[in-house]
C-alpha cells in the first residue's frame, strides 16, 4: 500500500489535469456523490461533528494496528473533500496519521474549505482524525 505522502502526490497529479475551478469542483462533487462513506447505522448523534452549516459524521476503527475511517456529510462538496481525506489517511498506522501534514489540501486549491468561516466541520474533522490517531499511537508507545 502507498504511503500517505505517495497518495497525496497521486491526488496532486489528478488535480493538475483540471483547467479551472469548475472541473475541480465537478470532480469533488462526483467523489461526494459516488462514495457510500459510512454505514447508516453509524450515522449517530455521537459520531456527528457539528459544523455551523453542513454536518459531518465520522467513525474511526482500529484493525491490526491500523486506523480506518468512514464518514459522511449532508453537503456534497464537503463529502467530496472528506472522500479525499479518507483516501489519504485511512488504513495507515496511527503514528503516520498523527504526523501527516496534509499539504495536498493547499496544493490542490482547497485551502479555503479549511477556513473557520466556512463552518463546514472539516477542520474539526481533521483534528478529530489526527487526535484519534495520536491518542492511539501514544497508548501503544
Amino acid at each position: 500500500m502507498s504511503t500517505i505522502s505517495e497518495i497525496e502526490d497521486e491526488i496532486r497529479e489528478d488535480f493538475s489535469l483540471f483547467e479551472d475551478w469548475e472541473e475541480r469542483y465537478n470532480y469533488i462533487i462526483d467523489l461526494g456523490k459516488d462514495l457510500p462513506l459510512i454505514e447508516s447505522s453509524k450515522k449517530t448523534e455521537e459520531r456527528i461533528i457539528k459544523g455551523c452549516q453542513s454536518r459531518v459524521w465520522l467513525n474511526a476503527e482500529l484493525r491490526e494496528g491500523k486506523v480506518y475511517f468512514t464518514a459522511d456529510s449532508d453537503a456534497v462538496i464537503t463529502k467530496g473533500i472528506i472522500a479525499l481525506l479518507i483516501r489519504v489517511l485511512s488504513g495507515h498506522k496511527a503514528e503516520e496519521i498523527a504526523r501527516a501534514e496534509l499539504h495536498f489540501i493547499d496544493d490542490i486549491g482547497l485551502k479555503e474549505h479549511l477556513s473557520p468561516t466556512r463552518s463546514n466541520g472539516l477542520v474539526s474533522m481533521i483534528n478529530y482524525m489526527k487526535n484519534y490517531a495520536a491518542r492511539y499511537a501514544e497508548s501503544n508507545a
Binding site: 469548475e22 462533487i29 455551523c52 454536518r55 462538496i77
Partner: protein, 408 residues
C-alpha cells in the same frame, strides 16, 4: 424616478463594488449581514485619525474639544435620522447586540422577577433571543414566543390577547433577517402601551432600508447597527425614551459613565453617558454620522423604493428556476430573498456561487429556531442594497442554474 445614471453614480461611490472576486466582478448580495462602505465614510475615518484623534469628554485641549464636538454632532445626526425627540436619548453602542444586551441586563436587574413574563417572536435573530433567555434565567421571569405561520407572518392577534398584568416587556424585530418579513410593530406597540407594557424593537434590518421614526412608532427602545447601513463595524445605537433610560440601571461600569466615584459609593452620570462606559469607538461613531448624511443625501425613501424594485425583480426572476423553494413569503417584506434549491444543500450552492463571484449567505443566519420551524438545515439568502442591479440578479439566476447543473 430612479435612472440608470443614479444607479451608476451610487455604485461608483463604493470602491469595493469595482473589485473582482475569484476573477469575476463582485456581486454582493450579503447586505443583511453587512453593507459595503462608500468612499466618504472611509475618508471620514482617515480624516479623524489625521486631524482629530483624541479622547472625548475629557481633555481641555483643542483636539479633545474637536473630537468631542464631532462625536456629539454624530449623536445629533443619529437622533435626527430616527426622529428622536432629544439627542440624549441616543446611546452609542457596539451594535444591535450590544444595545439589546444593555436593556436586557438592566431589565433583569430592575424590572423582571419570578412570575413575570416577557415576549419575543418566533423569527428573532439569536441576538434578540439569547440576551432575554439570560435575563429570564437571572430573574426567574418566563420567556414566551409569538408564533408565526408558514409564510413567516406572526400571529399578532392571538398573542396580543394573551398580554396582561404579568407581561413586563415585548422585544420584537422590526424586519426579519432570515425571512424579510416586516412586522406590524406600530400596532403591537399601541396595544402593548394600552396595557402599560413597554416594547423594544430590534431595528437592525429596518434602519438601513426604511424610514424609522421613533416618535411615530412610540417604541420604548429601538436598536440598530451602523455596519449594516454603510458605517463601520463596532457602531450601533440604543434609542430609549428618557423615562426608561433614566430608570434603567447602567450596563457596564467605567470611565465616562460616572458622576463621582469614591470607594464607598459611585453616582452615575446622566444619560446618555451613563450607558457609555470607557472610551467609545470615536472614529466609528463619526463615520457613522457620515453614513447617515450619505443616506440622507440619497433619501431613505429613494433607497426603499429602489430596493422594492430589486425585490420584485428577484422574486420574478428566481421563480423561473425549477425546483426553487422560497422561505419567507409574507405580504410585507424587505429586500431579502431566502430560498432552497431542491436536492441541493445550501452550503454547496454558496460555495459554487462564490466561485462565480457572487456573495450570498448560506446557513441558518443566526436564526436556528426559524430553520427548525421550517424543518430545513438553512437557506441561501440574497439580501439587497440600493446599489445592487437587475443585471446582478440575472447573474445570480444564471449562477443558480449552473450550480444546479453541477450538483444535481
Amino acid at each position: 424616478m430612479i435612472t440608470e445614471e443614479n444607479i451608476t453614480h451610487w455604485r461608483s461611490q463604493f470602491p469595493i463594488l469595482q473589485t473582482q472576486v475569484n476573477g469575476k466582478p463582485l456581486v454582493y448580495f450579503d447586505n443583511a449581514a453587512s453593507s459595503q462602505k462608500p468612499q466618504r465614510v472611509i475618508d471620514s475615518i482617515v480624516h479623524y485619525y489625521t486631524r482629530l484623534n483624541s479622547n472625548v469628554h475629557r481633555g481641555v485641549h483643542t483636539l479633545s474639544q474637536k473630537a468631542t464636538d464631532a462625536y456629539e454632532e454624530a449623536r445629533t445626526a443619529l437622533a435626527g435620522f430616527i426622529n428622536a425627540p432629544e439627542k440624549e436619548c441616543v446611546i452609542f453602542t457596539k451594535g444591535t447586540t450590544d444595545s439589546i444586551n444593555t436593556v436586557a441586563s438592566g431589565f433583569s436587574q430592575a424590572f423582571l422577577k419570578a412570575g413575570d413574563e416577557m415576549w419575543i417572536s418566533a423569527m428573532e435573530h439569536h441576538s434578540n433571543i439569547v440576551p432575554w433567555q439570560m435575563a429570564c434565567e437571572r430573574s426567574g421571569a418566563k420567556l414566551r414566543i409569538i408564533p408565526m405561520d408558514e409564510t413567516g407572518t406572526l400571529f399578532t392577534e392571538s398573542f396580543l390577547n394573551e398580554l396582561g398584568a404579568k407581561t413586563k416587556l415585548i422585544a420584537i424585530t422590526h424586519v426579519s433577517n432570515s425571512l424579510g418579513t416586516v412586522n406590524p410593530v406600530k400596532e403591537i406597540i399601541a396595544k402593548a402601551h394600552s396595557l402599560g407594557i413597554p416594547v423594544l424593537v430590534d431595528g437592525a434590518q429596518a434602519a438601513p432600508h426604511m424610514k424609522v421614526d421613533v416618535v411615530d412608532l412610540d417604541c420604548d427602545f429601538y436598536c440598530f447597527s451602523g455596519h449594516k447601513m454603510f458605517a463601520p463595524t463596532g457602531t450601533g445605537v440604543l434609542y430609549g425614551k428618557r423615562e426608561w433610560l433614566e430608570k434603567l440601571p447602567p450596563y457596564q461600569g467605567g470611565g465616562d459613565m460616572i458622576e463621582t466615584v469614591s470607594f464607598e459609593h459611585t453616582s452615575y452620570n446622566v444619560i446618555p453617558f451613563k450607558f457609555e462606559a470607557g472610551t467609545p469607538n470615536i472614529e466609528g461613531v463619526i463615520a457613522f454620522s457620515e453614513a447617515v448624511k450619505f443616506i440622507q443625501d440619497i433619501g431613505i425613501e429613494t433607497i426603499h423604493a429602489r430596493e422594492a424594485q430589486l425585490l420584485a425583480y428577484a422574486n420574478k426572476k428566481l421563480a423561473e428556476i425549477e425546483g426553487i423553494r422560497f422561505i419567507g413569503t409574507a405580504k410585507e417584506k424587505s429586500a431579502v430573498v431566502s430560498f432552497l434549491l431542491d436536492g441541493a444543500h445550501p452550503y454547496d450552492v454558496g460555495i459554487l456561487l462564490d466561485k462565480m463571484g457572487i456573495a450570498v449567505r448560506t446557513g441558518h443566519h443566526c436564526t436556528q429556531p426559524v430553520m427548525d420551524f421550517f424543518k430545513i438545515p438553512g437557506t441561501i439568502r440574497a439580501s439587497f442594497a440600493f446599489y445592487n442591479t437587475e443585471t446582478e440578479i440575472d447573474l445570480l439566476a444564471q449562477g443558480l442554474e449552473k450550480a444546479k447543473r453541477m450538483l444535481l
